[in-house]
């Protein structure tokens, strides 16, 4: 009666995993041949995967539409920037700064979660949007009378990630192979991303994950079954915020510079787009969505700019504008034609079949 879970994993799954592992291991060197900027793109893609996975917990697992998610990314980034840069003259090690960023981000997550818990879907979305913007405005203005965030100029010369003597930001030569800063960062980000994926998978198939699903399906029934929906929702916010904070800290150390511009509403919406387009609640789908939507604009830029220059002699259509325009269309089209996303979870696929049979 106990089912398929206990069967041994088939050989082809192991082979597939091995193949993916090999690809992931050599990817930066392959891309490096096309130029270092592609490795940077890849690194940002990994950051977006982390963010998308974090938002997925809030939106996909628990069903709470958070439009201000980028605020946690901002908190994580600024904490790193403030504790590990010349700004305050602090250069604390990563094992102090990272946890500090995580704790503060999680705290903000709970603070944000508390007031919004009773709100209906669309109101919750607007309030979270408001919070996200408030955080950005504060980041932008807390340079007077006491200079905390250095305002619109941001904080620069932020310390890079350092483990003992091993510095991630600098290029080095190992056994005759030259490894650049971005390449080193790739492995760090990959490791953290894999860790986050692992945690998400574990959470999904646990008592907590089921509680989130219950709330998403029918909150009143969930309460009647003894689930403390307030605490469980707060947990979703806190977990999502934690991942955002981690990504933020890594971002700050990698980029070496933080400013409020990187944390706009557009970014929140972009991450939401990744989750929605990829497949809300489905971890592989969300990863694919994040990779697609972070890599595609760069590909677009690489194609569109030279194309326009050769045809028109100048760039008429701003590639950023095209990117956001396509995002907009993607959101609309996905919601109308495939709201469960490109790669939906089994639950969502069932919802789709239900919809189709009723139509």
């Amino acid at each position: 009666m106990m089912d398929a879970k206990k069967k041994p994993v088939p050989v082809r799954v192991w082979l597939g995993a091995l193949l993916i592992g090999v690809v992931l291991a050599v990817l930066p060197f392959v891309l490096g041949m096309a130029g270092q900027s592609w490795i940077r793109t890849l690194n940002f893609a990994l950051l977006y995967v982390m963010l998308a996975l974090g938002l997925n917990i809030v939106v996909g697992f628990a069903g709470l539409l958070d439009l201000g998610y980028i605020a946690f990314y901002a908190v994580g980034a600024y904490v790193w920037a403030m504790l590990a840069s010349p700004h305050f003259g602090l250069h604390l090690p990563f094992w102090v700064v990272m946890p500090a960023g995580i704790v503060l981000a999680a705290l903000f997550g709970v603070l944000l979660g508390f007031p919004v818990l009773k709100l209906r879907g669309d109101y919750l979305a607007i309030v979270t949007l408001g919070f996200g913007e408030i955080i950005r405005i504060f980041m932008n203005n807390l340079d007077a009378p006491v200079n905390i965030t250095n305002g619109p100029q941001g904080i620069n010369r932020v310390d890079t990630f350092k483990v003992g003597e091993f510095v991630f930001g600098r290029a080095e030569t190992f056994f005759g192979i030259r490894v650049t800063g971005p390449e080193k960062y790739y492995y760090l980000l990959l490791a953290v991303t894999l860790l986050i994926v692992f945690v998400c998978v574990r959470l999904q198939h646990s008592r907590i994950g089921r509680a989130w699903e219950a709330i998403r399906e029918d909150e009143i029934a969930a309460k009647a079954m003894g689930i403390n929906t307030r605490n469980v929702k707060l947990l979703a916010f806190a977990m999502g915020a934690t991942f955002g904070g981690v990504a933020g800290g890594l971002f700050a150390s990698m980029q070496g510079f933080v400013s409020p511009e990187s944390f706009s509403l557009t970014e929140s919406i972009s991450v939401l787009c990744m989750v929605v387009l990829g497949g809300m609640g489905h971890i592989p789908g969300v990863i694919v969505g994040a990779l697609l939507l972070s890599v595609f604009p760069e590909l677009l830029r690489a194609v569109v700019v030279p194309l326009q220059q050769s045809v028109f002699g100048e760039v008429i259509l701003d590639p950023d504008g095209i990117r956001m325009l396509l995002f907009g269309f993607a959101l609309v089209l996905v919601m109308i034609y495939r709201p469960e996303g490109l790669w939906p979870s089994a639950v969502r696929r069932r919802e789709r079949k239900m919809r189709e049979s009723q139509a």
Binding site: L65, L119, I126, V127, L325, G328, I336
Partner: protein, 310 residues
């Protein structure tokens, strides 16, 4: 005291604009339960288009054309354009989702907002457009405070429009149909109301109001830019919620009130906080008002209590 009256005047002016935009939000929300994220961007298009029209008419020869004519032509261009945008969004993006969960419609609205914003950016660029100073800077004294011709026009114009809208909603067949649809869509349909027409009408009217609001805003502040829709839209939405979403009178009241709160807040915040927070935190007010209202009194000032049933 003079400052107070001055702030009140300023607040009423901006508040009138908020009210016009809030009406658009509240009409749509009242009928189909959607927060039309893209509404603010429609206002922006109205503002940008009006500026472009006036610039091209007047740019060469500032004294040559009557200000009234220029603004009139600007309105003539802006209103149909905005109505077209609103109609298109409803017809192709929102109508297919009428039976879908609310979050799907909200996400779609965000998508539409992005589309409108970025098309505007590609058309007009990222720079600010300056509205030429063609309106007479005539000023009237009210005791120690002053009210400009423009402010009078805005407050008066908005008031006239709001009266007209109330007349439409309460005295015409279309208005009755709209109110019926807002109360109970299915039954209204069964009673012979063409739901699609009513909903389209709500969007058309709302967008027309948005166009007028856009023209007002750009003549008042003198600048327009493709990102202006977001903040403005959010504030107007706050106004609609403050007054009671779905309630036309509420939208008007909320708009005026929010304008006043903002003006007074910006005016006095420096004094209140001993210079710690300046008027650059002005936008935060609206957000805080929004959050407080949604948490503590989601039905707004004039709305009905919204209960939760098992």
């Amino acid at each position: 005291m003079e400052i107070l009256i001055q702030q009140l005047i300023n607040g009423l002016t901006v508040g009138s604009v908020y009210a016009l935009v809030a009406l658009g939000y509240t009409m749509v929300y009242g009928i189909i339960g959607l927060i039309n994220f893209a509404h603010g961007d429609v206002v922006m298009v109205g503002a940008m288009l009006a500026t472009t029209v006036v610039l091209s008419l007047v740019g060469a020869d500032p004294a040559g054309m009557s200000a009234w004519l220029a603004v009139g032509l600007a309105l003539l261009a802006a209103i149909p354009t905005c109505m077209a945008i609103g109609w298109t969004a409803e017809r192709y993006a929102y109508r297919p989702l009428r039976r879908a969960p609310r979050l799907a419609a909200l996400i779609t609205a965000i998508g539409v907002s992005f589309i409108v914003q970025n098309i505007a950016m590609m058309v007009w660029g990222r720079n600010y457009l300056s509205f030429p100073h063609i309106i007479e800077p005539m000023v009237f004294q009210l005791g120690e405070a002053r009210i400009s011709l423009l402010q009078l026009l805005i407050i008066g114009g908005a008031a006239l429009i709001m009266v007209g809208l109330m007349a439409l909603v309460h005295r015409t067949r279309l208005g009755t149909a709209m109110r019926a649809t807002a109360q109970n869509r299915e039954v209204a349909g069964l009673m012979g109301v063409n739901i699609n027409t009513v909903i389209s009408a709500a969007f058309l009217i709302g967008s027309a109001l948005a166009a007028v609001a856009g023209v007002m805003i750009v003549t008042y502040y003198g600048v327009a830019q493709y990102t202006m829709g977001f903040m403005l839209g959010l504030k107007a939405f706050t106004a609609a919620v403050l007054g009671g979403i779905g309630n036309l009178g509420g939208a008007m009241l909320g708009g005026l009130l929010l304008g006043l709160i903002e003006a007074l807040g910006a005016g006095y915040i420096g004094d209140l906080t001993n210079g710690v927070f300046g008027s650059n935190y002005q936008d935060v007010f609206s957000f805080i008002v929004l959050i407080l209202v949604l948490i503590f009194r989601p039905s707004g000032l004039l709305g009905e209590r919204v209960g939760d049933r098992a």
